[in-house]
């Protein structure tokens, strides 16, 4: 079985990468999880996962004649993590369309693929993870611009036949307020509110320490919120071979 979920927001600063790794670690208690940094232009997952010094990243794999994806897979925190490099020159020489084959190859050997997506919808490379995924998890802050961008992400996803697994409110400062905002937001999103993650300095400290939140502060309220999110996220059974085929046959232009 395998399901590919894109963690997306459409807007920067919502805590997408923190959320991707936190959801990944929470899912890893039940499933075999692979996390891919598909934010190829503004990669930062490597800093969150203590992988800043690794030699081979997704960028290398996406270059013609590059190593197989296995060379960029690192076992960390109970998950398989595929970080992306931060060099713009490497981004320029990488071919994002090869992500399709990377995902297809990873799909044969995992239960859940989480794609940390770009915080924009303005390029093919940025939208590609949403096209490839089965469903999106939309990370939102309880603000007008974030909700507006989250709605745009969902419309893009729907247009590409990608479903909505749910919405996740992050950086929540006021519990009472989110209790009023979330039900109103749910009217427009196709998935449920998976959790409300409280704003916390612990999240920032985890990032500075180069550790995922669930490793740095597993007992924190924010970590518990991510575990709650995963309890509401029913991972769907997909036939690995069929999913891999789908990724391989996704129609993606060869040049970006």
């Amino acid at each position: 079985m395998v399901e590919a979920l894109a963690v997306a927001s459409g807007k920067g600063g919502t805590g997408k990468t923190t959320s991707t790794l936190a959801l990944g670690m929470a899912l890893a208690e039940q499933y075999d999880v692979t996390v891919v940094d598909a934010d190829m232009g503004m990669a930062n997952l490597l800093f969150h996962a203590g992988l800043a010094d690794v030699e081979t990243t997704l960028h290398d794999v996406l270059v013609e004649g590059g190593p197989p994806v296995e060379a960029a897979v690192y076992d960390r925190y109970g998950m398989s993590v595929v970080p992306c490099g931060t060099s713009l020159a490497d981004f320029a020489s990488a071919d994002p369309t090869r992500l399709r084959d990377v995902v297809a190859s990873l799909a044969t050997d995992t239960d859940v693929i989480l794609l940390d997506s770009a915080a924009t919808l303005s390029s093919r490379a940025a939208v590609l993870p949403i096209v490839l995924a089965d469903r999106v998890v939309v990370v939102l802050e309880p603000t007008i611009p974030s909700l507006s961008d989250g709605l745009k992400v969902q419309e893009y996803a729907t247009s590409y036949d990608t479903g909505t697994a749910g919405i996740l409110f992050n950086k929540v400062r006021d519990d009472d307020a989110i209790d009023r905002i979330a039900p109103k937001a749910e009217r427009y999103f196709e998935g449920p509110t998976l959790a409300s993650v409280p704003a916390s300095d612990t999240v920032r400290a985890a990032r500075r320490a180069g550790q995922p939140l669930l490793a740095y502060a597993p007992e924190s309220a924010a970590a518990e919120a991510y575990r709650e999110a995963v309890r509401g996220l029913s991972v769907r059974d997909g036939d690995s071979a069929a999913v891999a085929d789908r990724f391989r046959s996704a129609v993606v232009p060869e040049s970006l």
Binding site: L121, Y156, K184
Partner: protein, 185 residues
């Protein structure tokens, strides 16, 4: 609203109004931004938003399309980008007359919250504002602002027409780009 002539310091298209708010705060700019939404999908998108700054902190907001000032002007402008931006600097004191129009004034962090959705930037802006103001005033105002932000988000979600327009525009954009980018949908 009569604005003084200023020196143009930035002119470009921006997708996220956060850019201009950060720029003004970093420069400690006294001046004003003109924000004109590029799309005119929504009725209240017609017109230009004006946001003035005092040493980087937003003071007054006005929307020429709806003729509304203060917080409602920010609501008119929110979630309607990309925008054509022009940012002007003026001499200290040149905006005094404009800044005395209390009916158009906005709390210091409100533009960061509503236009950029950036709570940290809102905090930084409030902090900058509090430096030149008596202690205590901003603490009260910050609480009021937090309450009114929630109200603004709820009002946004209750505006089914605006939300449908945003979705419709995104759908059309996704379809057009799918064709342009060669995605099979």
């Amino acid at each position: 609203m009569k604005l003084p002539r200023g020196q143009l310091v930035r002119s470009r298209v921006i997708t996220d109004p956060r850019t201009v708010l950060v720029d003004a705060l970093d420069r400690e700019l006294t001046g004003y931004a003109l924000l004109e939404p590029q799309g005119s999908l929504l009725l209240d998108d017609d017109g230009t938003g004006v946001l003035t700054f005092d040493e980087g902190v937003p003071v007054v907001a006005y929307h020429t399309g709806t003729d509304r000032g203060g917080p409602p002007a920010l609501a008119d402008l929110a979630a309607s980008g990309p925008y054509d931006l022009e940012l002007f600097a003026v001499h200290p004191g040149a905006l005094d007359a404009v800044h005395h129009r209390d009916a158009f004034s906005v709390p210091p962090g409100m533009a960061a919250d509503r236009l950029a959705g950036d709570q940290d930037l809102a905090d930084r802006t409030r902090e900058r504002s509090s430096r030149s103001r008596p202690a205590g005033v901003d603490a009260v105002e910050a609480d009021d602002e937090a309450g009114s932000e929630v109200g603004a988000v709820e009002a946004f979600l209750d505006d089914a027409g605006k939300i449908e327009a945003i979705r419709e525009q995104a759908r059309e954009e996704a379809q057009e780009r799918a064709e342009e980018w060669g995605f099979d949908i």
